[in-house]
Symmetry: C2
C-alpha cells in the first residue's frame, strides 16, 4: 500500500488542497500536483470524486481518496514510518486532535466565510461574532494540546497544525482585504504567535500560496461575482 | 488507557448516542449509561463537552470524548484486541469507510431531517430529493464496501454498519410517521435488505429504541413545536 505513484488534484488557492500538500511535505513524500480548473473540471477529477466532484483528491496507485482531513489521516496511516507521525500515538490525544480538526472546518471556517459571504450586514456581523468565539475555543485548544510547546503537536507539527496551518495564508490575506484577523494578538496571543511560527517553517514557505496573489485572486472573484449579480438584475 | 471506568452521557432517542452504544456492544465493552435531560443538561454534560454541550459524551477514566464518529474511532483504537476491530485494517479501506461515514451525517441525515423540518413544502420536497440522491450513493457504497457479503464491514459489522445502523429505528419510525423510507426496496434493494439484516442482530435488539416509542416521542415533540409556534403568533 505504501510507496508508488501519488497524484494530487487541487488548485493553488484551495486551503483544503494546501492542507494535503502540507501533510505530504511534513511526511517527506513526493507527489505530482495536478492543477484543476474548477470551471472546467477534468474527467479525472469527476471520475475520482463522483460524489462531491471537489478538490482535493489524492490518487495513490490509481485509487482515489477524497476530503482533506480524511486524506491527511490516510497519508499518516498508509505511510507509517515515512517521516514523522502527524496524529498523536495515544488514542485519547488522537480523539482530541480529531475533535478540534472537525471544529476548524465546521465552526471556525464556516463562520469565517460568513464574515464576507453573508448576504446582509447582520449576517456578516454574526459571522464575525461566531468566528471570534471559535478562535477563542481554538486558543484554549492550543494551550491544551501544545502543553507549552511551540505546536499543537508539541515540539513538532502534528495533525492539528496541518489542519489549521493551511489557513495561515488566508489569515494574512483576510487581514489585508477586510482588516479582520480571527487570531488577533490581544484575544488570541498563543494562536497569533503560532501563525507567525507556522508561517516561518520551510513547509509553509514551500507550500502556502503568496498572500498578495491570494488578495488579487479574491478581488478578481469579488469583481466577477458583482458583475454576475449586476447582470442578473438587468 | 484501556479498561477502566466508562460512562456514556446520552439520551435514549439520540441516534448519535445509539451509535456509541452499538460500538460498545459490538466490541463487548460494558459501560454505565447516564440518561440526560436535554432541557436541563447536567453539570457533568456541560463540563465534559463545554464547546458543543451535546450528547453523546463518553467519559473514560474521567476523560471526556465528544462527537459520535470520533467516539467510535476512539473506542476502536483504545480497546484494540477487545472484541472485533470496527474500522478496516487497510488504510485505503479505512479512508473509504471514513468518507462514507462523514457522508451519512453531512448529506443523508442533513437531507433527511429537511424532509420534515423544512420550513416550506418546497424545502421539504428538496429534502426528499436530496435524501434519495444520498441513499442512491450509499447503495453503491454498500456494494463497494461489502463486496457481496452481508455487511459494510464484510462478513461482520464494521464502522459503517455502526454509523448507519444507529438510524435503523428511525427508518422504521419515519416510515410510520411520514410514509417515507430512504432505503426503499425498489431503489435501494441492497440497503433495504441490510436494514432488515442489521435490525435482526442481537446488538440492534439490545440497543436500538423501540419504533413505536420513537413514533410517540416524535408526535409529542411535533405537538410541542406546534403549540410553541401558535403561542409565538399570539
Amino acid at each position: 500500500m505504501t510507496g508508488g505513484e501519488l497524484k494530487l488534484l487541487g488548485t493553488w488557492a484551495s486551503p483544503f488542497a494546501v492542507r494535503v500538500k502540507l501533510a505530504l511535505y511534513f511526511k517527506g513524500i513526493s507527489n505530482e500536483n495536478i492543477e484543476e480548473d474548477l470551471r472546467n473540471k477534468s474527467d479525472l477529477l469527476v471520475s475520482s470524486n463522483p460524489v462531491h466532484k471537489k478538490v482535493p483528491v489524492l490518487i495513490h496507485n490509481g485509487k482515489p481518496i477524497c476530503v482533506s482531513q480524511i486524506i491527511v489521516q490516510y497519508i499518516d496511516e498508509a505511510f507509517v514510518g515515512t517521516g514523522p507521525s502527524l496524529l498523536p500515538a495515544d488514542p485519547y490525544e488522537r480523539a482530541i486532535a480529531r475533535f478540534w480538526a472537525a471544529y476548524v472546518d465546521d465552526k471556525l471556517l464556516a463562520s469565517w466565510l460568513q464574515t464576507f459571504r453573508g448576504k446582509t450586514e447582520e449576517e456578516k456581523a454574526e459571522g464575525v461574532k461566531q468566528t471570534l468565539v471559535a478562535a477563542e475555543h481554538l486558543e484554549a485548544a492550543f494551550k491544551e494540546c501544545s502543553k507549552g510547546k511551540p505546536f499543537f503537536g508539541g515540539d513538532s507539527v502534528g495533525y492539528l497544525d496541518v489542519t489549521l496551518g493551511c489557513l495561515v495564508a488566508w489569515v494574512h490575506a483576510g487581514e489585508k482585504l477586510y482588516g479582520f484577523n480571527p487570531f488577533d494578538a490581544t484575544k488570541c496571543p498563543l494562536l497569533n504567535a503560532w501563525v507567525e511560527r507556522f508561517g516561518a517553517l520551510d513547509a509553509a514557505k514551500a507550500v502556502l500560496p503568496d498572500t498578495d496573489r491570494l488578495v488579487d485572486y479574491a478581488k478578481m472573484r469579488q469583481a466577477e461575482a458583482a458583475a454576475a449579480a449586476s447582470n442578473s438584475n438587468n
